[in-house]
Symmetry: C2
Subunit: 341 residues, 2 copies
DNA sequence: GCGCGTTACTGAATCGTGTTAGCAAATCTG
DNA sequence: CAGATTTGCTAACACGATTCAGTAACGCGC
């Protein structure tokens, strides 16, 4: 054992006080009025001896733990990072830790993950998904406060935090409308998922508000891949009255759209304007021209999840069980004013 | 408290045995020969009562914890995900947990992160970076076994796991050489970092082995961005004897290269062949044509990190302190046979 | 000099588990 | 059938904190 652990008892002996006093001082319990002098002396000895609190002992004794559990599909996507990042940051500043467990699609696996987290005495649970959808929450998750991030349960039993897809779709279409476009195409992500429904609904509302009509033929069903963006764009631009702007259901679709447009000898952001969705960090800002898109607020959702959890753990009543987080536009260079050049 | 925790004592009482016996059975200590009948009865009662072991108590009592700490720059890049994923998987199957702490560049922050992890009684530590480089390991990390992933310390004091940049560069160049190319360009990542030095060294070796000469003018210094790929490619293709193939220092450079090539009216994977590096999941397979590239083995490095850590914790001597993990080629469609069409 | 409040602590119980030492009964050995 | 061994279990301490219930010493007013 290289590990010589210094305990509170050691500090107490060295400082000539009782363990209790050390505990009070180190935890800053002012109500136990320990004079500044003693306080200082104890802090000094603790530092000198290299005392490091034992978190396990603390959780055991105090019956409340310093950590939350986060269950997510690490497997699939880089998005998970951002949720983790936000949650981590938020938890960290309260001195809390995040235990991250994988839930690789398999529902049995997910249950096991939750079980394991509960064994670790987590004070609360966040269940996060990489794409916005409905999930079935494992039964055992009810043992502690639990929030859903980027997903929701059918019964609405759990508080959930999701992106405001509708407002996002509205913002995307509005960018194009404001730029003077009146003939606008749309390539959707996979049919029936909240992202598709929400974004499309928002778009339609925006166009209506701006007095722009859109034929059904201008909405083509994609599946979220670059390929579907490529072919969808070809389809739109082959129409007799091709759109001058396309709202792509996500950034990957936009990537395919760029290729199709360039192949036709047209210029993105000049001849055809493009708006994406997601704001994928390693994609959107590096495309040529840089992609104007709507950001998915993963980091904010992660942060919101932790702070909601904090509220629940402290027992304060939560007013709002369904929180939507706005999707901010990222204006870059793929949208041109229509009729300017 | 909704949380009615069932303890071992409860199980013991319900099953009519002592707590010790329950402990033995539940931990599968065969040497305490408990007959099958009793064993079964205890397991049943435990299940019935919904007994869940208290990890904090267990760590405290047994003086060894079920988790490792992983310190990484979550902030910057999606790569972190893959390391986490690999490490997570690997740890998980031994019933171990990963505590993930952020080290956002700030060295003070990193030290604090390590300190916090040590408080949680982690049995070992992994320090991972998002790009291959030398780091200064915080002093307190020495309290427990510690391995470096995707980075290394100057003194070589810590075991470290890094990608085999040289072999990767070799493989990249060889793909082009095998395809019949003899005039090959290269756009580097940022000067002086291990990735640049290693990949370039590997490339040169491969070309030498294949009897191909390469003028200095065919190597242009980039900085890892798509922009530098775009301009680098323009520079290469403007030369009197332009290369027919380009090895791009990373996938983002390749992304810029694609744009430059297409703008000149040439076709990637037909007129000009491209090989990238990194195999960015949301980039390479979605480019048009799909990018042939060399993968950075983040997931494998994460797994290797954990298993090395396991060895160290168990005290088995480790033979190899500097492990390099191969970078497998991902053959897709951006390389054409030269002189075929 | 008595009662009372404050100051500055301390003793001891507790949290849920791991683990060692040991004991009574049953079984084997010779 | 005495003695040795094995079987099947238990008592009790340890782990490193938190926390409740005190308590000795001191100052202060009357």
């Amino acid at each position: 054992m290289t590990q010589q652990s210094v305990t509170m008892a050691d500090v107490a002996k060295a400082a000539g006080v009782s363990r209790t006093t050390v505990s009070f001082v180190l935890n800053g319990r002012m109500e136990a009025n320990i004079p500044e002098a003693t306080r200082e002396r104890i802090n000094q000895t603790a530092r000198m001896l290299g005392y490091r609190p034992n978190a396990a002992a603390r959780t055991l004794a105090s019956k409340r733990s310093a950590w939350f559990g986060l269950v997510t599909e690490i497997a699939t996507s880089p998005f998970a990072t951002d949720v983790i990042k936000g949650a981590q940051r938020s938890a960290w500043k309260d001195g809390n830790f995040l235990l991250i467990a994988p839930s690789d699609d398999d529902p049995g696996m997910e249950m096991l993950a939750v079980e394991k987290l509960l064994e670790q005495q987590v004070g609360g649970l966040i269940i996060a998904t990489t794409w916005h959808r409905e999930i079935i929450v494992p039964e055992n998750a009810k043992s502690v406060p639990c929030v859903l991030v980027n997903c929701f349960d059918a019964a609405g039993e759990f508080p959930s935090i999701v992106p405001d897809e509708v407002a996002g779709g509205y913002a995307a279409a509005e960018i194009l409308a404001r730029a003077g476009h009146t003939n606008i195409g749309h390539i959707t992500v996979a049919q029936g998922i909240p992202a598709q429904i929400g974004r499309q609904t928002g778009m339609k509302q925006a166009l209506r508000d701006h007095g722009i009509s859109q034929e059904e033929s201008k909405i083509v069903a994609g599946d979220g891949t670059a390929d579907s963006g490529y072919h969808g764009t070809q389809e739109l631009l082959a129409q007799p009255d091709p759109p001058t702007a396309i709202f792509c259901g996500n950034d990957r679709i936009a990537m395919g759209a760029y290729d199709a447009i360039k192949e036709l000898g047209l210029r993105v952001g000049e001849d055809i304007s493009i708006v994406g969705f997601d704001d994928q960090e390693i994609l959107a800002p590096h495309m040529r021209p840089k992609l104007t898109t709507i950001a998915l607020p993963f980091e904010e959702m992660g942060m919101a999840g932790v702070s909601l959890l904090n509220q629940m753990v402290e027992g304060s009543p939560i007013e709002n069980r369904q929180i939507t987080i706005g999707c901010p536009p990222r204006i870059r260079s793929s949208v041109a004013m229509h009729g300017q050049r």
